[in-house]
Amino acid sequence: MNFDLSIIVPLFNEEENVSPMYDAIRQAVVKLNRPVEIVFVDDGSRDQTFAAAEALPRQQGSIHLRLVKFRRNYGQTAAMAAGIEHARGRILITMDGDLQNDPTDIPLFLKKIEEGYDLVVGWRHDRQDHWSRVLPSKIANWLIGKATGVPIKDNGCSLKAYRAELIKAIPLYSEMHRFIPAMSSLAGARIAEIKVRHHPRKFGRSKYGFSRIYKVFLDLLAISTILSFSRRPILGFATLAIAVSAITFCSLVSAVAYAFVAPDNPGIVFSGLTVLSGSLAIFLLFLGFLSQLIYSTMIRRFDPFRRLATRFVTSHPEEHLA
């Protein structure tokens, strides 16, 4: 089966929302008149969510419904990852299951992808949450933007559209979904951002608290490392080792100079610095070798990044995608 578009919706205890959600999506995409697949992922709901979803028509016109059921609750990232894994469309769209995102935005996303973008991110520009939620989220987004060079204004928005081969190559684990734009931009994807309608949350639950910012910072550093590592495994540690070696060399010169210029006042400070930074440089170099070892045993795990950055060039400028 060939679908142009798969719409992935994770559902957790949404028995009342399933049917309105389905209708809203159907109305939004029926005008497209193209084969569309809706993927509902039941994230181990304890209510009648799955039964409600099963009662919906499997096939209605050009719209197909696929249900993925988890054995238990695994969380939103896992639900999205499962939906992405089992979706069969060329273009994938993810959205929240609680009707916070507006399905009428879907055609806009589709259009952007067909203009040639790899990833389209929704931006909830009229968020009306309390500042204590918005501010940490803004700081986190700013940090992510700085690190990746692509200033995404709203990484937390679930409504996103992807080219299927891009998102299927990105490993989604832990809280990785927040870094999808970051990861794909570092892998060379073209990213667009569009404003979306945002309905207020019925149950307030913030994505970022102030304490989260340092986590975002650490996660970001980890992800940048993995990405640079996937390109040149030893480069990161080697660069660091060389920088530290430079310090070692300078302080060594100073120590020797001290010994000549002022024999009574031995350069304890510089000798100490030399020994310390020298040992650090050697330590880093060996860590570089260790990372090389990991890389060579797990080389196929880093293949996605090469694939992500690979494009198939044809004579038509729009058809750069394989």
Binding site: V68, R72, Y74, H86, A222, L240, G272, I294
Partner: protein, 306 residues
Amino acid sequence: MTKESLLSIVVPIKRDHPDLAPLHAAYRQALEAQGRSLQFIYVVDGPLEASLASLRTLKRQGEPIEILYHAHSFGEATALTTGFRHARGERIMTLSEELTVKPAELGKLLAASANHDVVIARRMPSEGGAPAKPRKFEYAANLLFGRRFSDLRASARVISQAVAEEITLYGHQHYFLPLIAETHGFTVKEVEVNAERRQRARGHLDLSLVLDLITAFFLIRFIKRPFRFFGGFGFLVLTVGSLITAYLVVDRLVFGAALVDRPALILSSLMIVLGIQIISVGLIGEIITFSFTKDHKDYKVERIVD
């Protein structure tokens, strides 16, 4: 015999017992009263001749038990894992090699297991016994994990097959099973049961238990994001070291205080080095996690309906 009604019972045997028949009889009698078909699995952990001989005798007498045997000792958690791999029941009950819980009380655990993935016993003193004092181990564990379990070391538990498939135990990790299960998204319930007799209070925390506690803490909280652990520590040490160094350097350049006289310089520069080392090791950890993570996916799909 439907899968739902089958109950597997895993009993790890860690010591040499001259006669296990009374124990088996007690468990069997109590559990048969529950009206489910039973699969008894005894896992003998190490070369324990007497225990093995006693189990063999039981089997020869026609008891439908399965006996597994580790050629050398791996510890209780590994013995449990071995048992789980052979369990066919939808629910698995683990029991101790000694009667620590009144067998008649096991039904309570089973009843609770209908609605929960993991049910653990909380051993209450029998009539007349002194109420159990909160113990150091549980206190430390609850402090670290922010949970409230009062008897992590009770060996009577009921878990679902899904839990057994997903969680591999080793070391002392069986103590942390409820905590690990909770982080995997399973529901855990503690049920009060009467203890068989007064337990000898194991007051002290031995070293390996402390190490296991720390390991479990690290694994449960940070296995998916090791850099949050390493990076947090590393940047803390690095920042403190840099601040002290900056202060010392300014003091030297502006106020002319000789650095040679300051042992604080050794401390601060060592902290910088240590900080960088912890951060680098954490990044390696993150690379390892990343490299291996897709091999064991976060989720299991029960079914797909088209």
